[in-house]
């Protein structure tokens, strides 16, 4: 078959164990979906644990939640939603064969928004939590009511947002690699599954945040 001879930027795009290009592209997409299902269960175990303790110790968790700023959480939600839009536009751009520069620009904005998210998270939130002695295991120091449960809340807060932040960092790394390949001209309307699959991952990471935001920031009424 001539498909094995199709190359993009000098490299064949069809791996030798696949019969056809569509089969390869579909396999990659399905692979990512299965991976995301695993991720759902990964975060799901954490959500379940969180829910149990929030049920048991609502006053303490409410107290803890009041120490973190809704403002930054809300801004970060907006940042991630916009980044999902630019991610989708980047896929669209390569799909319809826009100029390389357009795709690169959209990928760049997506990564930039990811970095903005992380900066808000680390500098404006975690650093402040640290200064207020709210980090369990490092400098936790709070003697008010429900102290033990506030500590538990902060553990979940750091663990869940930390795990999410790792996913964002991985996502930025993937997009960086794909930007390089885009610049090298590896992708075309015929072949763009890596970008599409990375998009699936990026949207998933956003969705996790959409759940984390109300769970952590919006409890107990304000």
């Amino acid at each position: 078959m001539s498909e094995s001879a199709i190359t993009q930027a000098g490299r064949p795009i069809l791996e030798e164990h696949f019969e056809t290009l569509p089969a390869q592209e579909e396999a990659r997409k399905l692979g990512m979906w299965v991976f995301l299902i695993t991720e759902i269960l990964f975060f799901g175990g954490l959500f379940a644990t969180y829910t149990v303790y929030r049920e048991l110790y609502l006053p303490g968790f409410t107290q803890g939640s009041h120490f973190i700023e809704v403002k930054w959480g809300a801004i970060n939600t907006a940042v991630l939603i916009v980044s999902s839009l630019t991610m989708a536009l980047a896929i669209r751009s390569v799909q319809v064969g826009k100029r390389k520069g357009t795709t690169l620009g959209l990928l760049g904005i997506t990564m930039l928004l990811g970095v903005v998210f992380l900066c808000i998270k680390f500098i404006l939130e975690w650093r402040v939590d640290y200064l207020h002695h709210h980090v369990p295991g490092i400098n936790f120091d709070y003697a008010g009511p429900h102290a033990a449960h506030v500590k538990l809340f902060f553990l979940f807060y750091f663990y869940m947002t930390g795990l999410h932040a790792i996913h964002v960092i991985v996502g930025i790394g993937i997009l960086l690699a794909l930007s390089y390949l885009t610049w090298r001209g590896r992708f075309s309307p015929k072949y763009y599954s890596p970008i599409e699959v990375a998009g699936l991952y990026w949207h998933f990471v956003d969705i996790i945040w959409i759940f984390l935001f109300p769970l952590l920031y919006l409890i107990g009424g304000r």
Binding site: E16, H17, L30, V34, I37, L41, F43, P136, L152, L155
Partner: protein, 543 residues
């Protein structure tokens, strides 16, 4: 003379074993067949380590006061035995060795969907195994394979972190393997290989993969929470500071009950293949056997509470979990009855793989039925944490899964190596294993029923006779495992040439050369018939 000619023919033919040589060609391979071999060597090594721990335990229990080791050491022995056998032998055994080798061949593909990911999962397995061996060398872990909190998170002074890290890491290896298999079965089937033409081995490994992908991440998150509790003393699972140890058990068993089916479903797949091949019949009720795998995978996620009947979970939850646990018997029963129906009036022959399959049928049924005892709330109060439980799950795990793994290994060995092993020795070993196994574990049913508790280094004197019997059986079992190790290795060099299809079995994997070429088939096969399309034989008419 003809042997010599055939010998020469194999030597000159290029296949996956001789296409390249050297350590690098193995460590960097993306060939699913070579990765299967890498897994086989690794899990055999881990099996030997786990078996040594078991041997020491059986020696210890020869005497009521304990024959050789201190109780602390005994705790470490049963912990490392459980951890290694569950995560580093049984879970990867059939999927990662036989599954890796066979799934692409059975569906007519050149490889799995993601060959590099496949190699990565082996490396992850090795990293996890290194953590376990490190733990073992630097003093061991004493929490049992279950890592129950708050003991593991607060009070144990052993290397909990190393062991938990090893299990956490190896989990990702299972997830990637499962992911790879799911996509492979969906997207890599040869033309004409419809879902209902798939061998039942594929159906059951597909169901296994679903469980792997859904359950394993929960174990990972649970172990990480436990490790955090251990470092930070926050009270996630420690009741002394507001935590709930029962929550750990819920999360742990949400994974670990399905994990039982991760270990048993692939075994059921192997048995379907063996029964069909050696009775020369299509498996009776193909669709029922196929879908019962999914029923088992589904119910697996709904029964975890049966491990916690005496842990203080609510009585109503206990009742629901008990009732749901009984449901598992239905799809399992369907399979056993269908295999039996296949054997009935089949043209049965009793080669070594078939002996293992028959052993499976008896031992698995026995393990399954005693599972129903344990699923009954009131009886479990009496039997919980006794040797009855130990005997029950060893009948499933060893009598079921290991028998199937051995059977599968013998059945596909000629395909993997191109050589036949000495059949007489193989049959002798199968019998030895069967006898040794029953001698080891049947007395444990009685011991448990009489009230001997598990996980103790010492026991009341009246239990000695049965314990000695069990230890004697274990030594026979050990011999039974040792014999195949010798003749299988021997056969790689001195065994007779197998030829493409020594059992005259159906299935795509038998239509290519043994050992297969790198790309499995000279040209992509086109499937035109159902699985197990054995010629129907006119029935003998009785006058």
């Amino acid at each position: 003379m003809s042997v010599a000619v055939a010998e020469l023919a194999t030597r000159s033919r290029v296949h996956y074993l001789n296409e390249s040589y050297g350590v690098k060609s193995w460590l960097l391979t993306t060939d699913h067949k070579r990765i299967a071999i890498l897994y086989m060597v690794s899990i055999t090594f881990m099996f030997l380590v786990g078996a040594c721990a078991a041997a020491l335990m059986r020696i210890q229990l020869l005497e009521p006061a304990g024959a050789i080791v201190q109780p602390e050491t005994y705790n470490k022995l049963f912990s490392i035995h459980g951890i290694i056998m569950v995560w580093f032998f049984l879970i990867p055994s059939i999927p990662a060795v036989l599954g890796n080798f066979l799934i692409p061949m059975m569906i007519g593909a050149r490889d799995v969907a993601f060959p590099k990911l496949n190699l990565l999962s082996w490396y992850i397995y090795i990293i996890g195994a290194c953590f376990i061996l490190y733990t073992l060398i630097y003093g061991g872990v004493d929490t049992g394979w279950t890592f129950y909190t708050p003991y593991s998170s607060t009070y144990s002074n052993s290397h909990v972190f190393g062991a938990a890290a090893g299990v956490f890491i190896v989990g990702f290896s299972s997830i990637l393997t499962g992911l790879n298999f799911i996509v492979t079965v969906h997207k890599m089937r040869a033309p004409g290989m419809t879902w209902f033409r798939l061998p039942l081995f594929i159906w059951s490994l597909y169901a296994t993969s679903i469980v792997l992908v859904l359950a394993t991440p929960v174990l990972a998150i649970t172990l990480s929470l436990m490790a955090m509790e251990r470092f930070l003393h926050i009270g996630i699972f420690n009741p002394a500071i507001g935590g709930d140890p029962l929550l750990f058990q819920h999360l742990f068993w949400f994974y670990s009950h399905p994990a039982v089916y991760i270990m048993v479903l692939p075994a059921m797949g192997v048995i379907s293949e063996l029964v069909a091949a050696y009775s020369r019949r299509r498996v009776y009720g193909y669709a029922f056997v196929a879908f019962s795998s999914f029923a088992i995978a589904l119910i697996a996620f709904l029964v975890w509470g049966h491990h916690m009947f005496v842990s203080g979970q609510s009585v109503y939850a206990g009742m629901v979990f008990s009732a749901l646990s009984f449901l598992v018997a239905i799809p399992s029963g369907i399979k056993v009855f269908n295999w039996t129906a296949t054997l009935y009036k089949g043209s049965n022959s009793y080669d070594a793989p078939m002996l293992y399959a028959l052993g499976f049928l008896g031992l698995f049924t026995m393990g399954g039925l005693t599972g129903l005892f344990l699923a009954s709330l009131s009886i479990d109060v009496h039997l919980h944490d006794t040797y009855f439980v130990i005997a029950h799950f060893h009948y499933i795990m060893v009598g079921g899964s290991v028998m199937a793994y051995m059977g599968g290994l013998h059945y596909w060995w000629p395909k993997m190596t191109g050589r036949l092993y000495p059949d007489k020795w193989a049959r002798f070993a199968a019998f030895t294993i069967f006898i040794g196994f029953n001698l080891t574990f049947f007395p444990q049913y009685i011991l448990g029923y009489l009230g001997m508790l598990r996980r103790y280094a010492v026991y009341p004197a009246q239990f000695q006779a049965l314990n000695v019997l069990s230890s004697a059986g274990a030594s026979i079992l050990g011999v039974g495992y040792f014999i195949p190790l010798v003749y299988l290795i021997w056969s790689m060099r001195y065994g007779r040439e197998a030829g493409p299809n020594p059992w005259r079995a159906k299935g795509l994997e038998w239509e290519t050369a043994s050992p297969p070429p790198r790309e499995n088939f000279e040209e992509t096969p086109i499937v035109t018939e159902e699985a197990y399309a054995y010629p129907t034989r006119p029935r003998a008419v009785r006058v």
